[in-house]
Amino acid sequence: MTTSQTTHLIRGARPLGGAAADVAVVDGLVAAVGDGAAAAAGEGAHVVEADGLILLPGLVDLHTHLREPGREDSETVASGTRAAARGGYTAVHAMANTFPVADTAGVVEQVKRLGDEAGHCDVHPVGAVTVGLEGKQLAELGAMADSAARVRVFSDDGKCVDDALIMRRALEYVKAFDGVVAQHAQEPRLTTAAQMNEGTVSGELGLAGWPAVAEEAIIARDVLLAAHVGSRLHVCHVSTAGSVELIRWAKSNGWDVTAEVTPHHLLLTDELVRSYDPVYKVNPPLRTARDVEALRAGLADGTIDAVATDHAPHPAEDKECEWAVAAMGMVGLETALSIVQHAMVDTGLLDWAGVADRMSFRPARIGRLDGQGRPIAPGEPANLTLLDPAYRGTVEPSGFASRSRNTPYRGMELPGRVVATFLRGRPTVLDGSIA
């Protein structure tokens, strides 16, 4: 009971931002919280001094691009999950738009196995909804659900399942194994050649616009479809005020609809595109200050269930070019918690219990994960993140664990730092470094 390898005493941390308490971690479980924790850990325990630090349940990302197989020059399962651990994550959902596409049991099992071997965090592959993400024929969703990867989240992310009938069938079909369809809402005809949010800035810059209605029209259709067939729908990376309203309306009707927002959509606006720096080119695009405000309010009141990174690594050459040909996406795992603290906690919109809810409890439930997103209580798996909220530091991408550096926050001063991450009682990060 006292071997230092498996026993840790986290001393003086504040679980979910509440009162300071000692937490004992023994054999992969939370053994005790508060009085008696020291005794439960015993004399030989490894002690983590955590005075003034926040203890959160290990973060769960619903939306990560790990790029393996196929684009290992951008990221691998090993490098991406190292970045995840550094960001305080103990589980990530790996999106299916790899090469080959994760549309069979074989590919999802391969990704899962690579995650297990790397050991930095749990990897839950997302299965493609349609073969090759082509939107035409359903992939073998059941085989992926029954595979060793136990897939529960299905998405053609990067592309929208725009055929209404295919979307309906997918929503119906996944009910058989309690799956969820995670939709990348983007009406393709309204966004042909789109380069940035359609609005006054796109008009001035002469970049083809990506109207909010292209996202909202699909969300409106999909919540109606989900209600009609009585299935679960998850909306990926919501980016507009109108989308928040639609999801609020769907929830008020009692429909089983959930949604996520990215950290960057909680902070950045399309005004930044005036620099023509492709580091700001992302899908969905950065929107207006009014949208940012609505997204923050939606996350605060629970309309939006989760913060998801949409971590999208790209090599430098795919961003060091003209805006029009640059790849879309930004890395996010290692800065997500800082951005959420900056945009939501330090602004008083969300407390740390709220952060735990939106970044761990709810995403784990949406993904139907066992053992992740659990309370910090005796007997629960010790998936934990220890955060120093008083830390202030300048973002320096060269220090990222991710293989890619396409962050919009270079040189920005941000609050918060992940001090330690525990995966089932084993530290994956200690003193801010990979353990």
Binding site: Q195, V201, E204, G206, G209, Y276, W323
Partner: protein, 333 residues
Amino acid sequence: MKRHLISAADLSVEDAILILDTAEEMSQVASRPIKKLPTLRGRTVVNLFFEDSTRTRTSFELAAKRLSADVINFSAKGSSVSKGESLKDTALTLQAMGADAVVIRHSASGAPHRLAHSGWIHGSVLNAGDGTHEHPTQALLDAFTMRRRLAGAPDGGPVPHGEAGDGTGRDLAGRRVAIVGDVLHSRVVRSNVHLLTTLGAEVTLVAPPTLLPIGVESWPCRVSYDLDEVLPKSDAVMMLRVQRERMNAAFFPTEREYSRRYGLNAERVARLPEHAIVMHPGPMNRGMEITAEVADSARSTIVEQVTNGVSVRMAALYLLLGGADLAASDSGR
């Protein structure tokens, strides 16, 4: 003057008038037997064209050569898309060659901005048209043409059709300009709205709603869907090229309907005030946005615009490259 000319929005009224006045001086060079100044001798100007435009390239080339600069034409068409040779690599090459100015034409909006602000090159960057963003020297030549025609008389008023005045020192205060057609995809419009407004003109954009950008109501101009209503109140009407492929994307129903509602013909020209001029940045679709009769009439400044383009580009290169004092270099001849 700034080091780069990326956007007409970057020009103050003083900058704009300085360029136009300098262009007036440059235009006198063109009427001499030896059309050349030694001003930029020893300087290297690169025409970096990622998109074909013989007209614009030739105009810049002629302007640089009249100032005695060394000119390199660097055609990089298609390379941005294939990524065979990236903008960055090209820029590093030009930097290594010692380019003092890079005149860049690119199908991607923002490419000149990126080139100027990336730190890849140290010379001046001149935007010769980027995507659907801007084309500042086109706006300058348009303004130059308007100033000569509409404010070129000794009293600052319009000159008779077919004559060119001298607008030196003047702006375009109170002049009313209608810009008609595919505003959405036009880099010429964005530059013209900025520059003409800076010079005091009132701009009205005329187009079907599908060819106006979202947010146009925040631009410093008026918007109308009705050409006939705007014409009697216009001192200049600038017709934009309409690309026939826009029809396939449902921007308007048919060519015939477009011409009927937004094309400029003799009947419509008759609604203009007596002194008003007709402009077109070229190349024209005769019979689509403008009839041949109107394009070739005495009111049309289309050929003059091309001539004026060389003077304006000489002025821009001269001022950006901080060439020797013009009077001094001139007297050296």
